[in-house]
Symmetry: C2
Subunit: 206 residues, 2 copies
Amino acid sequence: MESLNTAQPVRKRGRPTEDERVERRTQILEAALPIFLEYGFGDTTVDQLAAAARVTKRTLYNYFGNKAGVFTEMQRRLASMVSGDAPAHDTLESLATRIVLRLHSAEMIGLHRLVIAESLRFPELARNLYDNGDLRHISRLADLVRAEWGLNASSSSAAALFSLLLGEDYRRRLLGLIGPATTEEAARHALTALTTIGTGRGDGSH
Amino acid sequence: MESLNTAQPVRKRGRPTEDERVERRTQILEAALPIFLEYGFGDTTVDQLAAAARVTKRTLYNYFGNKAGVFTEMQRRLASMVSGDAPAHDTLESLATRIVLRLHSAEMIGLHRLVIAESLRFPELARNLYDNGDLRHISRLADLVRAEWGLNASSSSAAALFSLLLGEDYRRRLLGLIGPATTEEAARHALTALTTIGTGRGDGSH
DNA sequence: TTTTAATGATACGAACTAGTATCATTATAA
DNA sequence: TTATAATGATACTAGTTCGTATCATTAAAA
């Protein structure tokens, strides 16, 4: 069921330098990510991983020991991916919009689905996603909530706001019922959530 | 070395009546549920299912054709499980508490985790969970929101309320980071969510 | 130059698994 | 009573997959 040789750019053979080793390492991990995202851990075969990275299984086992080794190594590279980079200047609305756009993207939905599915087998993966994802987002939201709404807005506002930024649409996307969010949808969604938390009643009125 | 059999209640052999057939059918499906919840679809073997149901593979294939047949048949029995039965008289607070207690239980978290993991392979399962779960909960919440808060509270209030009833704790449970909710935690959680939506700011103050 | 570590290509073994087949058995249906 | 459908118990087939092994090859290291 796998496509056979489609003009592979044959790799050189001999002994690699140290730089080439680290480069190949990242190359394998980057190739593994979309495979795991699509097939999950159990239904991804080592042959798939090797083929995607244009590497033989021999090399793959040489670098990572086994399949779980590739998986757990990959997750360490995801910290920056799940948290995203924070612009210096940000308003609550722009931050909320960026969070929605990010968490409702196809890549992040796929990643979350994978991590949830494998959370019992790979607890570190779940912990990593939560600490570097949710917690950082909530922390940044809390800073801006205090800055824009004053100190009487307790820290639980940020957590509630984050839950609304996910909302039903996020659940629908996790379940594969709808596609990723557009920029416009994300902005509208963020604004609605802000209004709901800021004024109550959640009817989006002003 | 007599028998490895640990006192299995050996089943009778001959031809079963129609009643016995339906009974055995449900018996197999009920036994399959916890297995699928624990191991997922891919890592559950047919031998496991047969052993759990105290039935031979022969019988299992006779009833359900194949492994996916057991899985998809099982999901039809989950409609009532995911929606729950609705008491005639309910206040918004009691309904919210019951929803939290239900959705944050170990069984429901396991089910959701499974459905999310297999949502791409079994889209019907995801659709079933969402329609019979989320949508019904939101609908019931919307009725009571209108009844207790008046008609000016739009229907989006119910969806936002539902998102808060899930909240960060639900995410933590999906990721296996914390255990199921106690009755007290559920009641407190529900009250906080109601206050957040009802008054805004989400600080739980009155 | 010589040695050696790493690789490509490929084959292989061990284990597991879905699904089928065989045969005796037994209770239901005719 | 007799024929038959369904089962238990178990073995089996065919396919898949993880991980290892073999051998030639090549470039870095000594």
